[in-house]
């Protein structure tokens, strides 16, 4: 492709279609690289932000688009269509009445599209968007709606998009990752550097989020045989939220794993911090560094500004386990043992009342560690263990090898399928979202929903079973015969007044389908209550 494209909606829509439909990772990378090469600034930067899901327009929400569509299309037909298609943007793009032949005009480029929507007064917005949808093909409508509402799912992770940037420019992926979170849409400086026409963008490390290093689950069968216990350190795995603390003098910010700034929900924590560092740790709530139930943390997380009583009853703290920057110095290229030494020294002067150092557990061999893991789960309710290679550098992403998580064994209960609902996206033709229940006296009450844990083959079987055993339909939901027993695995159980059973499960997933087991042998509420805590 030698000709430069226009940055138009048509090219972007074509790129998205390729990304959705091509099964090959390399073909996706090639398609993105070709697009970045052929598309001018700032349009390519807008496209990049959409693909990495960093773009979100405050002015135009999915609800407004839905409203706009329902004004033109019979609402009942719209809802039936949505139930069938499973994706709001695609439903709107397909159902939008085809424009008159003489509809005249041109769609804006991506950047112009975005800036129009962000600057137009609310009163003019609906008319503007409707006029654009009239001009567009279904594929272009879909592209515009996804640009406006965010949440683009085209089978491309942010990581793969950055890999495409690396492929396009010949720059090192790790270098791109390092500066990524300090960059701003539409990434003009980044593209200039990638094109070799500008310097590497300068990032103020003390103020930005840095992508985290993640662990892989241990494969008990294979990993322990080939790993030497002397090369690893172990810590408890905490049932909190992974966070990054960016402390810059008297200003501190708290980021979630995905780089969302969640400082506002935890003023008690961030206001108590000082010094200069970027730290990695687990956000927990509790008094005197004694962590409380995850539910309390969840309550605080869900609020933009916390209630005074929450701050008093559930004070936040961070159990720190790693250090990325010591002052302004980037220490991510030092081995973990050295980073840990730096962290301990820094904590000695700056820990205060809200930071607590994660304990390193002593063990001589893997069997000893296994015993520790069992004891921790049984007597302290620990989630499991983290196992980290002492020489590991701090690498963004989820590299295979240096860090492992070794979760406690999941808890299992036998439940009965009660309801099923069609999935979305790739699973939109399958009944893939299930509600499961347990016995309370003579009735079955819902205890949790699960969408995962089964193979594609099992999904087909479950889907077929649901279609053949439907007793009732409520819109998109089917109620099924209370006949199928499914073993659910989950991480923990908690009290929940919102559920009819009074119990909420964390991370429930299908463990086994018990085609063999009669529903009468499913678990009761009494047995499940014993697993709370």
């Amino acid at each position: 492709m030698t000709e430069r494209m226009t940055g138009g909606m048509k090219d972007f829509a074509a790129l998205l279609e390729t990304l959705v439909l091509t099964p090959s990772r390399n073909a996706k990378i090639a398609a993105m690289a070709a697009y970045f090469r052929a598309t001018p600034d700032p349009d390519r930067g807008i496209a990049l932000a959409a693909i990495t899901r960093d773009l979100s327009l405050a002015n135009l929400k999915a609800g407004a688009l839905r409203q706009l569509t329902m004004e033109r299309v019979d609402p009942d037909l719209f809802l039936m269509s949505y139930d069938y298609v499973g994706d709001m943007a695609e439903t709107i793009s397909l159902i939008w009445p085809a424009p008159d032949e003489d509809a005249d005009g041109e769609l804006p480029g991506l950047a112009a599209f975005v800036s129009d929507i962000e600057t137009l007064p609310k009163s003019a917005l609906a008319g503007h968007v409707a006029a654009l949808l009239d001009l567009a093909s279904p594929a272009e409508r879909w592209a515009m709606i996804k640009l406006a509402t965010g949440g683009l799912r085209v089978g491309v992770s942010a990581r793969l998009a950055k890999t495409a940037l690396a492929a396009y420019s010949g720059r090192d992926l790790a270098e791109i990752e390092k500066i990524w979170h300090g960059l701003e849409i539409p990434y003009t400086g980044l593209f200039a550097w990638l094109d070799g026409t500008g310097p590497r963008p300068e990032i103020r490390h003390g103020q930005t989020f840095h992508p985290m290093m993640l662990s892989n689950p241990v494969d008990e069968e294979r990993d322990f045989d080939r790993l030497s216990p002397d090369d690893y350190q172990a810590e408890w795995k905490w049932d909190g939220i992974r966070v990054q603390l960016v402390i810059d003098g008297d200003r501190a910010r708290l980021f979630s794993r995905t780089g969302d700034d969640i400082s506002a929900a935890f003023p008690d924590l961030v206001e108590a911090l000082g010094g200069r560092a970027v730290l990695d740790g687990e956000l927990l709530v509790g008094h005197d560094f004694d962590p409380m139930n995850f539910n309390h943390l969840q309550q605080r997380l869900n609020r933009k500004t916390p209630a005074k009583s929450h701050i008093r009853d559930y004070p936040a703290f961070v159990r720190v386990y790693d250090m990325l920057f010591d002052g302004e110095e980037d220490i991510r290229d030092l081995p973990l043992v050295d980073r840990r030494r730096r962290l301990e020294a820094w904590m000695a002067t700056h820990a205060g009342t809200r930071l607590d150092l994660s304990e390193i557990l002593a063990f001589n061999d893997w069997d000893e560690l296994a015993a520790l893991r069992r004891m921790g789960a049984e007597t302290h309710g620990h989630e499991g263990l983290m196992i980290k290679q002492l020489q590991s550098l701090y690498v963004a992403g989820r590299p295979k090898g240096p860090w492992f998580k070794w979760k406690r064994d999941p808890r299992l209960i036998d439940t009965v399928m009660m309801y099923a609902q069609r999935g979305h996206g790739r699973r939109s033709s399958f009944y893939s979202d299930y509600t499961f229940g347990i016995w309370r006296g003579n009735e079955i009450v819902p205890v949790g929903k699960a969408y995962s844990g089964f193979t594609d083959g099992e999904l087909r079987d479950l889907d077929k079973w649901v279609r053949g055993n439907t007793v009732n339909r409520f819109g998109p939901v089917r109620e099924v015969e209370k006949d199928l027993v499914v073993e659910l695995a989950f991480d923990s159980a908690h009290e929940s007044p919102r559920h009819k059973s009074g119990i909420a499960l964390r991370f429930p997933r299908v463990s086994r389908i018990r085609w063999d087991k009669p529903a009468s042998e499913a678990d009761t509420i009494e047995t499940v209550r014993k697993l709370i805590g």
Binding site: E17, V20, L21, T22, P23, V73, D74, D76, L77, F78, M80, S81, Y84, V85, G86, D87, E90, T91, L94, I95, A98, W142, G425, R426, R427, S428, S429
Partner: protein, 287 residues
């Protein structure tokens, strides 16, 4: 078995000469009295020979469409609008999200992809009866006259269409050929063969599927289709609603597909409409 002569021929080709107890051919437009009812067949436009059935009794007229489409197709007789009092319509694509584009636009996308990727082969999943011949004919009408390779299951009916005077150009067997000889070419196979061992003979194929379902991107993705072609032998939403209105029918029974939406549409317009649920019809991606 009462049917058009071409339908009888096709049934014999597919299911054997004695697949029905006896056949009684009825040409389009001929009227046949069965008791007090007069029966006649009228083109449905779905595939070659496909018919709607008009039944007249005591001055009242009922039409059962079977599968139909109204947009032009040079491999089938053109749909005939038959005014009636009771209209029994299919509803395969009975949701307003189904608005089929001009099939020639889809063929142009296919040919552009073939030209852009000469090192790969394009294999199109198309139902052996009707869809395969239509796609081939459209490809010919777009000016592409290179040989097209056929899966064994496609040969017999393509031969029949040719015998009926529908020129499908240079068709060849895909059997026993060098893998490399498919590069840059188009192969037509039943959808079920696309993910079967059969397709291993093809060099890095671009999997295409010609079907009305390809409108929904996630459906295409789900079936492993890289290049979806929205080409259908069934009426889309606009054709369904336009046809219902044009028949003048006051009563509409809806079957074979998304009955609910079409029934809703009819009732909004004051028509007496009912869903007619038939057993044994589940969604079929090959349609």
């Amino acid at each position: 078995m009462l049917a058009t002569p071409q339908t009888i021929d096709i049934m014999r080709h597919r299911y054997g000469a004695n697949c029905a107890g006896s056949f009684q051919p009825l040409a389009f437009g001929d009227r046949l009295a069965i008791g007090d009812v007069t029966v006649s067949l009228h083109p449905a436009g779905h595939i070659l020979g496909s018919a709607q059935v008009l039944m007249e009794y005591g001055g009242r007229r009922a039409v059962v469409t079977g599968d139909y489409k109204t947009h032009p197709d040079s491999t089938a007789q053109t749909f005939e609008l038959v005014p009636c009092d009771l209209f029994v319509t299919e509803a395969t694509f009975g949701l307003p999200v189904f608005q089929h584009p001009d099939p020639m636009l889809e063929i142009n996308r296919l040919l552009a992809s073939v030209a852009a990727q000469p090192e790969r082969c394009h294999v199109i999943g198309a139902y052996a009866l009707g869809k395969a011949q239509r796609v081939i004919k459209l490809i010919r009408e777009a000016g592409h006259d290179a040989p097209i390779y056929l899966h064994g299951a496609q040969e017999k009916l393509c031969g029949y269409y040719m015998d009926q005077g529908i020129d499908l150009g240079d068709l060849r067997k895909a059997l026993d050929r060098e893998k490399d000889s498919f590069r840059g070419h188009i192969v037509i196979a039943p959808p079920s063969a696309l993910r079967d061992r059969w397709s291993r003979r093809l060099p890095d194929p671009v999997v295409c599927q010609a079907s009305g379902w390809m409108t929904i991107k996630q459906r295409a993705k789900q079936s492993g289709v890289e290049l979806p072609l929205v080409i259908s032998d069934h009426a889309d939403w606009n054709e369904l609603t336009t046809t219902i209105a044009a028949t003048g029918a006051e009563t509409v029974w809806v079957t074979h597909g998304r009955e609910d939406a079409l029934v809703h549409w009819c009732r909004q317009r004051g028509l007496a409409a009912e869903p007619l649920y038939l057993q044994g019809r589940e969604e079929d991606l090959s349609e």
